[in-house]
């Protein structure tokens, strides 16, 4: 069988919930994929090997384990992308679970389209607007984002000055500036618990504000991003559907 397309899934972890991670890897193993697609998964541990014993128990034949210091979300994914070959890179959050048809739906939608593609968050969708016909949206969330090799080569992945948060908004704006589009794929579902579980709000809020300040500094007075870098919609960076 001739493998025509390699999809590399990158999951970067930092003391992540092991139960959810196990389910995530289980569902990735159950993906319904076309015959010509090869799926490889890289589990990148940001604890510098401290969680190796736990995480390596989850490994299956197509999953590799790498580790580094806690370098941040975007930088970790950049490292995985730089160290591996792929046609499509699927950036996944460690606190989510892919529907068994998610990758197939993303690939199917991405055919003959240029840009980046996000899965729809489940069960509570992100409120930002996307066109119901074309799927075009202002930016793609990094929690389940499909990046074609060509885009990666051209843009060089995430801007690793963002430790966590806003790196997805940043890459989306750069994608649009380069003449491509951001898409939401409504048939691709990714379970993501954004609203239900209690979190360390203070720590998250601090990181969020820090990244927001960096985003503003980078784009606020950059005229070449006029009509792309939109700060008028608050932290949503897009108009909402409801």
């Amino acid at each position: 069988m001739l493998i025509a397309m390699k999809v590399l899934v990158g999951i970067t972890t930092y003391n992540s919930n092991i139960d959810i991670l196990a389910k995530s890897l289980d569902m990735l193993a159950k993906q319904v994929l076309p015959d010509n697609v090869e799926l490889a998964i890289n589990l990148h541990d940001n604890t510098n090997g401290k969680q190796k014993a736990i995480l390596t128990k989850l490994l299956k034949s197509n999953i590799t384990y790498t580790t580094s210091n806690n370098i941040g979300f975007g930088a970790s994914h950049n490292k995985v992308m730089a160290d591996n070959e792929f046609d499509y890179y699927l950036c996944l959050n460690p606190d989510g679970i892919a529907h068994h048809n998610m990758i197939n739906a993303l690939l199917e939608f991405a055919k003959n389209k240029q840009g980046i593609f996000e899965a729809l968050q489940f069960p509570a969708e992100h409120p930002k607007y996307y066109c119901s016909d074309t799927g075009v949206t202002d930016w793609c969330s990094g929690c389940a984002m499909l990046i074609p090799k060509q885009i990666y080569k051209e843009l060089g992945g995430f801007d690793d000055q963002f430790f966590m948060y806003m790196e997805d908004v940043d890459i989306s704006w750069r994608v649009r500036k380069a003449g491509y589009k951001c898409h939401t794929v409504k048939d691709a579902m990714f379970f993501h618990d954004t609203y239900f579980s209690e979190r360390d709000d203070e720590g998250i809020h601090k990181m969020f504000l820090d990244s927001d300040a960096k985003l503003k500094k980078k784009y606020k007075n950059n005229l070449s991003y006029w009509r792309i870098a939109d700060f008028s919609k608050g932290y949503g960076f897009a108009k909402t559907r409801w």
Partner: protein, 318 residues
């Protein structure tokens, strides 16, 4: 979580989720099961009651257990009688599921709805902490067309449980609560009314709340899909499907009769006064909802008179 034990107690902490489904809804069922698979509660049993005679569809339904594993599955086929092949067995489907369920906790889920990942943990914790027979939470209404959600509504969200409010409108959806079978009174019939083809969930909620006051968890626990292609059962058919509208009218009339029976012919009996506080009545009367929604208990005027009477008990004779 504390485990209750004793005679006739169910000695486990399993939750049984009873899902009723029909043919041609397998994709919807898959979404519902995906939400269960992602749910954080560890001990889950899924009881799927399939209404139909098609064995191929049943096999498709059964195949979900290979994808969403880690949960116990039970499959029940409920075929309508030959002389009434289109009969809606919705209440009977639930009842068969309840009979087959082995969990101490019970939850219902229609095949087109989904649950939040914290649904079971949150509501079971609320039951244990407050020693109630059941607990309910808020539901987010997703209004969609062709799987595109264009509006959300908090129609099924509320600050606290109110029986008066429940009499006015059905705000407790079938998948918004968990029942602890060990805490249900022995004389309460944990069954849906098979005479109803619609509103069976409303009648059950009224009966259940009449006998056991729930604890209300002020958090979103589930999502309710409103499909604007006219395929939801609760809506009048705007396209003029008279059969569907007649079915709704018939079910509505039947519900009125059952409510009257439940309240012994008098809307506010002594027993009801015990569960309805004056403060609650005052709060409900002050809301616009009373005037916005048509009450289903007798006439709206009579219902309002009864509520006002409750506020002035000296003049009231029951």
């Amino acid at each position: 979580m504390p485990k209750l034990a004793g005679k006739n107690m169910i000695d486990n902490n399993k939750i049984s989720v009873i899902i009723r489904t029909m043919g041609n809804r397998n994709d919807m069922l898959g979404r519902a099961l995906f939400s269960l698979y992602c749910n954080y509660y560890p001990d889950k049993e899924v009881v799927i009651v399939y209404q139909g005679g098609d064995t191929k569809t049943l096999e498709q339904i059964k195949s979900w257990q290979n994808i969403y594993d880690g949960m116990e599955y039970k499959f029940i086929q409920n075929t309508p009688p030959a002389n009434e092949p289109d009969k809606d067995l919705r209440s009977d489907n639930i009842n068969k599921g309840i009979t087959a369920a082995t969990g101490r906790y019970i939850c219902f889920l229609d095949d087109d709805d989904t649950l939040a990942p914290t649904h079971f943990n949150g509501l079971i914790q609320a039951i244990d902490d407050n020693n109630t027979a059941w607990a309910c939470g808020n539901v987010m209404m997703d209004i969609e067309l062709d799987n595109y959600i264009y509006k959300k509504s908090t129609h099924f969200s509320y600050n606290k449980f109110s029986y008066v409010q429940l009499l006015i409108e059905n705000f407790i959806t079938i998948h918004s609560y968990v029942i602890d079978r060990n805490r249900i009174n022995k004389d309460f019939e944990l069954k849906f009314n098979t005479e109803l083809e619609l509103y069976e969930d409303y009648e059950f909620a009224l009966r259940l709340a009449y006998n056991h006051t729930p604890y209300h968890l002020d958090k979103v626990v589930a999502f309710y899909k409103v499909r604007t292609d006219n395929t939801n059962s609760f809506e009048f058919d705007k396209a003029g499907d008279t059969a569907k509208n007649t079915k709704r009218d018939r079910a509505g009339q039947k519900l009125e009769q059952l409510k009257q029976q439940l309240f012994d012919g008098n809307i506010l009996t002594k027993e009801m006064r015990q569960i309805i506080t004056k403060k609650e009545v005052r709060e409900v009367l002050n809301t616009k909802k009373l005037f916005r929604f048509k009450t289903r208990v007798g006439s709206k005027r009579r219902f309002k008179i009864e509520l006002y009477k409750l506020l002035k008990p000296k003049k009231q004779v029951i």
